[in-house]
Symmetry: C2
Subunit: 415 residues, 2 copies
């Protein structure tokens, strides 16, 4: 651990108090709409219903499946359901999904405390920023060895979001972060199972509980992240220096219903006629080879982690932005299965994780997800995506956000 890493707790306390710039807040409002649409669709999809039905606690919070829910369980259920389709936002600085941990924690505490939607958005935003900062502080070894940053870094972000809405003192917030240090968990080995969305829900709940329990007088390690036996040292953290900065302006929203590692390649060939191509070579960052390069997926879920299959879908005019397209039937479609053998995937460490280069019969098509999307274009694409996911309700949710109406926003989540 480098010496600078000792400041991570102070950095998180700074986020908890910070006043977000309006341009970043505008992106967070879009993330909130995107999050709500993903969660409603995630609940409607149905796989998590028997599990959610078993969580019966009563309280002031709203879940995607019902109102009147217990605060901690609401964070758990909403975090899980909003990540169920793996269609929520992603930040590539640390590779994590910031909203699915920070937003459910902020929403549950906001409902419990009667906060405004605007305050809830600011809390979710500083929580998301905190999770990115922790992710950067932990570094890539943490992710490579097998920890799921969405869950681990996400729990700290959720803690910051909840601590802000509870107006905890710095001392209480430090205890909350210490409690989070001994509660945060989540492994990448869950990818491809229901455990992956659950990881997000657990992170959201950990944030809610750590903050509420610190408020109730629970004490913990004074510097739970950076101390010698703390979260960083035990969880393969690098302890990198992380400056205070606003990073959520650069968050990525998904416009394809599959692993984010596939998106640059899909965007690269967006206007390319692929069907008749005979040799397609995808060049991508080496990191993605172990994440989303399933050679021969045989389920819809597997297809979401396969360059070869999503390009076969694109070649056959299947809408990779449509969740329903990723079915088991699609994965088994003989035409697609045959076509995907035209695709070769190659690691290229001269590319960033946000870039892809797709060579179609010798012609190069490249895309960089880091190329900034102007706010109005981002807004239009998210609105279209939300409508595709939840229909006209998308516009009602956008209106509730514009109206700063937390009650209405929460009502619109139950489907």
């Amino acid at each position: 651990m480098k010496q600078g890493s000792l400041d991570i707790t102070a950095l998180l306390l700074a986020y908890a108090q910070a006043d977000p710039p309006e341009d970043v807040r505008a992106v967070m409002r879009l993330s909130l709409l995107d999050w709500a649409a993903c969660g409603i669709a995630g609940h409607r999809e149905g796989a998590f219903r028997p599990w959610a039905d078993a969580l019966t606690g009563q309280g002031p919070a709203t879940r995607f499946d019902r109102a009147g829910a217990m605060v901690a369980e609401a964070a758990l259920v909403n975090g899980t359901l909003s990540h169920a389709l793996d269609y929520d936002d992603t930040h590539f600085a640390h590779i994590g999904h910031p909203s699915v941990a920070a937003v459910p924690a902020a929403l549950a505490i906001a409902e419990a405390t009667g906060a405004s939607l605007a305050h809830m958005i600011d809390a979710a935003l500083v929580g998301a920023e905190a999770s990115i900062a922790v992710g950067l502080w932990l570094g890539r070894d943490h992710y490579e060895i097998g920890f799921h940053q969405t869950a681990t870094a996400g729990a700290f972000g959720a803690t910051v979001a909840a601590s802000r809405l509870l107006a905890l003192s710095d001392d209480q917030s430090a205890h909350a972060l210490g409690l989070c240090s001994t509660m945060a968990s989540g492994l990448k080995s869950q990818f491809g199972t229901m455990g992956k969305p659950l990881n997000a829900g657990l992170a959201a709940r950990t944030g809610v509980e750590a903050a509420l329990w610190a408020q109730a007088g629970m004490t913990s390690a004074a510097d739970g992240l950076a101390e010698p036996l703390g979260f960083g040292a035990t969880h393969h953290g690098a302890g990198a220096d992380v400056p205070f900065a606003w990073r959520m302006g650069a968050v990525s929203h998904k416009f394809h219903a599959c692993c984010h590692g596939l998106h640059a390649a899909l965007e690269a060939v967006r206007d390319v006629e692929l069907r008749a191509a005979t040799a397609v070579v995808v060049h991508t960052h080496p990191r993605w080879m172990s994440v989303c390069n399933q050679m021969s997926p045989f389920t819809g879920l597997g297809a979401k982690f396969s360059y070869r299959h999503v390009l076969a879908m694109a070649a056959h005019d299947q809408d990779t932005g449509n969740i329903a397209a990723f079915s088991d039937d699609c994965a088994a479609d003989p035409a697609l299965v045959a076509w995907r053998d035209r695709v070769l995937v190659s690691a290229d460490d001269s590319l960033t994780e946000m870039q892809a280069r797709v060579v179609v019969d010798g012609v190069v098509h490249a895309h960089d997800l880091d190329a900034p999307l102007p706010l109005d274009m981002r807004q239009a694409r998210i609105a279209a995506k939300a409508r595709a996911l939840v229909g006209a309700r998308a516009d009602e949710i956008a209106q509730a956000i514009a109206d700063d109406d937390l009650t209405r926003f929460a009502q619109l989540l139950t489907s």
Copy 2:
């Protein structure tokens, strides 16, 4: 990870189904009485009350602070309160407190399912055995780097206990263990704070939730412990070969209200007149030097982790078996503070972790906690300890256990 480690999940499934030998079951019955007395006293002590009061879920389970509680919260609260005084049982094979994770999980599920007390005891026992097995499988690096085996290995034990009472299939149990792999957490850096008892409660809750959620259809990594990105690989696990064996017969019960690492030294000088001694040298296993060798504690809690202070207490006829003796006043007592400078603590790797050698003015006194305590003597000392903790209720609890009366047992926990 060694190849043999791939069998850890199969080993845990074997524990879930196993029929315990009667002599080990007899020790578990004593552990149950010891656990109940520690929990009642832990609740009465009061530090965790505001926290427990904030957990308001309703359900069929009993907590030390009330009946009619939510199952998962009961496991959380009871695990925490029963470890609050750090006076519960310890197993030195892996250095963990097996009962505070396995018993609360088994109790909560037993109340929810209407199981008998005898079935609850067997479930807690196989859960405790499973936690020891996981602790041995993870090995010492896991502990040394900073993970709290009571919490991490304990969560797997709690999962096995809960899975047995829910009569999960092997497939469901494997999913429960996979979910536990992505939920289990707990750091040693919490030692000396309320986070340490909380770790035990979290382990108990994780077991309950992992089993209930697997029953509700939640899926997870197929071999969450041993797979390449699984719990062992990510948490500094050695992946040792662990044979099936019954190890709870060798569990240690505490008869001094302080860290177990201090007990061999206290037993060694049990009949020695210390007050007038001028030079006391404690030889202990090197492991304990970072655990319970606080040189100058200034709180009652700190005193529980200090060779120098507990020997000063013994020298001044203060009962180290009495929880109330470990007060802040005691830690600050000028006579004891002055006396403890006569004590030198020295690491000696020729000793086991269970042994101590105390040299008092040149005379050697040694003790080995591994020397087996006959069952009747163990029973008598636990009964006496339980009476000291909770008075006559201790005998009522012992009777409820003898009567196989779960309802009565649970009623006696609320104080």
